[in-house]
């Protein structure tokens, strides 16, 4: 979620944490986390494809931002 967009989930979590006695927690933002496994791709190709998939489908640029990380082999790709 972009900073400028009100995040109702984050606000609710923050309130709930405060009620549980975690008064020192602030600026809670809740978003999505995805893991995908990309086959047959070099690191650059993977990067380019993830970027494209994020723009086209995985995120909505009106309200969301994204970052991703790419891992090799055994553990798939992490966005």
């Amino acid at each position: 979620m972009k900073k400028s967009v009100l995040d109702p989930q984050g606000a609710a979590v923050e309130k709930a944490l405060a009620a549980l006695g975690y008064g020192n927690v602030g600026r809670v933002r809740v978003g999505k986390y995805m893991e995908l496994l990309l086959e047959k791709a070099s690191e650059e190709e993977a990067s380019a494809q993830v970027e494209e998939m994020c723009r086209r489908l995985l995120t909505n640029p009106v309200i969301e931002e994204y970052t991703y990380r790419i891992y090799r082999a055994d553990d798939g790709v992490d966005k």
């Binding site: 967009v5 009100l6 109702p8 995985l58 009106v62």
Partner: protein, 231 residues
């Protein structure tokens, strides 16, 4: 005048829109499968409510890539009438046919309740039988109806009279308690620049028969017929 109702996997108000056109308006109507590549000569396309693809990822996101969206975009560009209701509105927003985004209700719950909406623009193919400022009673039923856009877009929407409906109190105040989902400026429905594409969260098709508690929603469809020169 012929209507088409798009059917995506997970659409569930397709039946309701179809029933409304066929049994209440008594006009020709057909279902159009999401995999179709043409709209088959329909004059008005309805994107019904429901949970296309389960609303997984984001409501309307996956459906907005359906093959049928290509001919729909062309149809809309040529001025064809497109009405997106609830999930249909979400599909229109995700596909870029309407600006902004619809996301999680502010209170985080699905909300099914009766609302009042105020007519802000009575000069559209969808509203020509309404009076500006008129209040309509219609139910909402959604979990992601919280309308958001950036401030430039909002200004543009208001400047060009593209905010069509706003949630209001029974007395006509567009105040905070009347807002069922946290939408910016109580926005319940907006239209495209040309005024031929309307997206709205409330369900006019659920308020078009006395047995269901309100007939106000029928005005939307009667306006469409009037625009087309039919009764």
């Amino acid at each position: 005048m012929k209507f088409g109702v798009l059917v995506f996997p997970g659409s569930n108000c397709d039946l309701d829109a179809y029933h409304l056109v066929r049994d209440v308006l008594e006009k020709p109507v057909k279902y159009i499968w999401h995999g179709e590549k043409k709209l088959d000569g329909c004059d008005c396309i309805i994107l019904p409510g429901g949970f296309t693809y389960g609303d997984y990822l984001r409501p309307g996101a996956i459906a907005s890539f359906s093959p049928v969206m290509e001919p729909l975009k062309e149809f809309a560009l040529r001025g064809g009438l497109v009405l997106g209701i609830c999930n249909g509105f979400q599909v229109l927003v995700e596909s870029g046919l309407l600006p902004g985004a619809l996301y999680r209700n502010l209170h985080l719950q699905f909300r099914c309740s009766s609302t009042h909406i105020k007519v802000e623009n009575a000069g559209l193919p969808f509203t020509n039988l309404m009076r500006p400022g008129q209040l309509l009673r219609m139910p909402v039923a959604h979990g992601d109806g919280n309308y958001y856009c950036d401030s430039d877009t909002l200004e543009e929407l208001f400047r060009h009279n593209r905010v069509v409906f706003r949630y209001a109190s029974p007395a006509g105040e567009t105040d905070q308690p009347s807002n069922p989902n946290g939408s910016l400026a109580n926005i319940a429905g907006i239209c495209s620049e040309g005024g031929n594409v309307l997206g709205m969260m409330p369900h006019p098709e659920r308020a078009a028969e006395a047995l269901l508690g309100s007939e106000d929603g029928r005005l939307v469809f009667q306006s469409i017929l009037a625009h087309w020169g039919e009764k």
